[in-house]
Symmetry: D3
Subunit: 260 residues, 6 copies
């Protein structure tokens, strides 16, 4: 029992992460068969809540992907629930200070490293010591989102907080907070400079850096820069964009056929 994604990251692999926003377990199991290293169930901006996340985690069991979850906020109730349900890592929005980072680590890790409450219901029978509890702290990825200038300012303090595994960049919020449009795959020099700083600071500490992207090409650039967790796409964007393309092609080809 271990976190396969963590092993790959420790090996220095660049990992591809998919993003689940559609609250349906069938979507999760289809995505799980398309080659991702990990899938992140998004309970913040995705339409998932705890119960749909559980269904997705159940569907992901036995599939060759590592399940992670992004929580709606840095709140110990929901963090504990998704970990108990089987997520191997937490992406947490808006971690801006060392105090935020400590609260996050406390919610993710058992004592003495943290203050997570015992009861891993899908990993063992609750009320029983199981292998899970002995390996959990070493296997749970604790990924604060760095997505505000305040977080960038406090970057080192956040990363130095015991229990933190690295940093996950939220480019659209970072830009928005800096007065720029809320997009991914950014080219502004001041943003790229921040990325470099994040890479440097995590690498220095033997930690992981991850980032949300909107295309394989940009993601590959980020991988080359040093990010190891590359989110490339969300379920709904993949479907929506492919549907747009299919309809467009269908319209054009049927018009041509009609004219021919």
């Amino acid at each position: 029992m271990s976190n396969p994604l963590l092993q790959k990251l420790k090996n220095g692999d660049v990992c591809l992460n998919g993003w689940l926003t559609i609250p349906d377990a069938f979507v999760a199991e289809v995505m799980a068969q398309t080659g991702w290293d990990s899938l992140t169930i998004d309970l913040q901006h995705g339409l998932h809540d705890y119960r749909s996340a559980v269904a997705a985690l159940q569907a992901l069991h036995g599939r060759p992907v590592t399940p992670l979850a992004r929580v709606p906020w840095n709140e110990p109730g929901i963090i504990g629930k998704v970990l108990d349900a089987g997520a191997w890592g937490i992406v947490c929005p808006m971690v801006n200070t060392a105090a935020d980072a400590k609260a996050l680590a406390d919610a993710c890790l058992y004592a003495p490293q943290g203050a997570r409450s015992n009861g891993p219901i899908r990993a063992g029978f609750y009320g029983t010591a199981s292998p899970y509890q002995t390996i959990a702290n070493a296997n749970i990825l604790v990924l604060p989102q760095i997505e505000t200038p305040e977080a960038v300012e406090n970057l080192e303090a956040i990363l130095d907080t015991p229990g933190i595994s690295g940093a996950y960049v939220g480019p659209s919020d970072l830009g928005l907070c800096m007065g720029l449009p809320p997009i991914l795959d950014r080219e502004e020099p001041q943003i790229l400079e921040i990325y470099e700083r994040i890479i440097g600071a995590t690498r220095e500490r033997g930690q992981i850096a991850g980032i949300q992207n909107n295309s394989p090409a940009y993601a590959a650039r980020m991988g080359k820069m040093g990010f190891q967790i590359l989110t490339i796409a969300t379920d709904v964007n993949l479907m929506g964009f492919a549907a747009h393309q299919a309809v467009k092609a269908g319209r054009e080809l049927t018009s041509e056929a009609a004219r021919a």
Copy 2:
């Protein structure tokens, strides 16, 4: 109050139909914003049941697509329920005889044309005569699936059954029943000959022909042949294929980056 898809079909338009198999209303509303003329909620091979179909129909209200439903079987209970919930047409599997076609028409149409029970709960308040009941029979598309050799043999009798709007071809079942692999976008001459016969028979009667396809290009050929309802893709295939492509591109580009 009318069926916009039917208007287009009567105008002679070739219409693009999307296929909903993921039992989630968010998928329905995203698909509804990508340009389809109609969306068919699949209660047979899709993962939808009645309750998820209702949620999809609720999400499709106010969107520029006409909702249809494929029912699990030629059974009046479920046909009535999805019509009452707001579907503007029924695609019905395995209609092989005139008797099957009559049962289908009876389930879809109010007396005297049929035997549908009154109670269109999402179209008016149940127990009250509303505009819906006066226009329903003229607006509901009643589409038997022609997908067995028996159905092809009985084609004219099926189409001549009062209340039937035309024929919708299920290529994979048709092939399977003829000893061929169960695929779409078929090239076997004996199959294409059947398609031509279906086009001819429906056109002769002023009816509609539709067909399930797996690519815009093949669909366009079918449109040129005379099919007016062209299903091009399903939600899950669009997502799954796009995810495969994204991961493949991500792997290649990150490998290149690593090698560079």
Copy 3:
């Protein structure tokens, strides 16, 4: 363990029945506290399916109303399921012949009276003989809907079918099938004559007659005529009409206030 509604009907009481169309258990429990003798969960034209019906039946347990269910169609699978889940009676649409009536009775009653399969999961532990099985046949109300001219023609044969408890009139379908608008609370003499005939035939056989109404006043007339199960209103019509009234009053009073 018995069916309280049946006791009242046997005493000659006129009973008030409410109609549940909103697929939510909270609606069921609120309706259950407003004085009805029975509540009918509508799986045909209501938005209920089996799972929401189970939730409603769970919510109705321990409340002073008898739960009935209207099934989507005369199909033994769903009839068995809602009985196993705890309904004390079945209202079945479109029972037009003695054969339909026999199929209905078979689905509702255990051998030797019928062919219901054993497994009353919410009334006892499945696989165990419990008091339920010994009293079920005597307590389940089996109510075919008389709602077509064909059913009226076959009325006596339907009522003479062993196991049938009486007749439940569907006025809107009856009218629709006779070329009249699909409404409740009807005044056409030919319809009222049918009602009298149904009352006579059921009374003669010591059976129960019921009818769907749209107002307490009309229902009371029907009660006087001899109907014992009087459906007066549906959850959604009560809510929708009251909302219309509240908004209308709100608009008028705020306009007056503005003018004052």
Copy 4:
């Protein structure tokens, strides 16, 4: 893309608001057809949670009402989620201090006005700058509930917090906290005096005042006093009260009929 309710409020209109407590999308769409200016999905005392709120928001799309949400508590996770899902305003319970008000505004508004995280999944494709993000801050109604003596004491400080749109009065909590019974439509002079003060303070600042009422008549008085958002009724109270009335009338009329 804009908030139609806000336009009416800016025009000085008195608006009628309905309250959704039943966690079902069909209830939402029926209520949406009865004339309200806005409907508030209640995630605090109503039975809604995030997933049922999403279903209601999906059902309200394309209907002539503006959707608002009352959140369970002043917590940024759920506030962000219901805004991302399409609510045009937040009613937040128990805002008692300027600090509470600032937390609320931060959760509702994007930088630089607030700290809402970007990802409006039902308003645009996540990860893309869309028109929504450019108009959101100007269109989201941020309504703290004034429902304790402490809040009344801090009224001006709350209203002066940047981003706050006005005040929404919770009469039953306000009374309860003052040692009075927890009812709506109150007549105590000390309460009415508070209402006047709230009207004055919001008017002075060009802000909006709203209040929960239990009858059109009392609501109209409040409208005359200066409240612009008048909640008149909840879905469940409308249904429950109407059911009581129907059963009562049914009992009386059938008894009369029996005596006649």
Copy 5:
């Protein structure tokens, strides 16, 4: 890709089958970790419907048990849906004649052996020929329930119907139809004689016999008699009985403690 249970049965193994009646995927995955050869999702007398069955099938993926389903009735719509969702076998109630058996086989098997419609959505992408379709007919268990005297009378004709895999005995219905109490683990000689006859007839044809039991001890006797699929317990009975025992022990021990 194959049916592991079928392999064991062909090897002559006696297999232990658990029964799922609680419509929750967590129950399915816990049951899947307790050693059963197969688990049967009960859509007839269990509280499962199609959607909860899908969730259970998703949870069972990757677990060391073979999933089967009991359908509510011999109806092709639901049989096709649960097979498409991944069940490896169908237990079908009330198969009383060769015609019933043929309808069942038709619904379970693809042409030319049957008439199942193509679209195995969870086993391959719909519309594509996948390995599943080429192995399905050889791997799907088609198990009619022999549970009436009529079925016993027609036993050989049922078993001789092409596509039928054997017989599954429903002891409580069989007894009920013979005027005996509806229990499992029966001792009546006339019943045991029927069991012997079923064993003989299936063995003769190289088919499988299965039976529903209520205890490991009785099940073992049935295994010795020749039944190969032994259902021993249901999720809810296991839980309910264990809870009774725990509470009883708790009461006794706390009373003793109090007296001590």
Copy 6:
């Protein structure tokens, strides 16, 4: 209207509490028929969330058990929601300080004892003063979990916080935080000493002590020690353990039969 469990506790009874982790209302109603004094719906480590808790509370109505809820965290939003939905007591994890205890009491009790917001939707019609509000504060059990050394250190301050009903021990977390394995039914002297101290402190204040156990025998010892609320088992452990036993017995007995 009152809390039956509280009456028993005041009488000095030792009460048996069951634990609900499976998010299904059928499980709740089956457990409710097996003799427990109370059932606690676990929203923290159980798979329940608010909506499944509501379904369980609806199913428990009219059953002879008192419903309690364990919340995911000391957060007023969810505490208010489960109380409004009908729980008669709150078990709250990780109450470590007097400030935590005050926050908990504020969330559970109406003014002037606390700050709970009015709106008990399942106990009365919201917006109306009902008997519930007048008896709630005297009947709601407010049970902080004592499960860290910090909580033990602050025990008296926690118990002295107005509104607190006593202490509920979480043995696995308490052990984990003390460097011991996370199990129930503990024998370490330093732990048993803490239990004695908790019994003493609660008894002194006329308060209630409760504890989570894993067996009737250990629970009885705890009852003798002075704990009055004895949780003996969870739904899922009862089912899982019984299934293990049944399969094991089945394997052994069928092997013996095969050998015989």
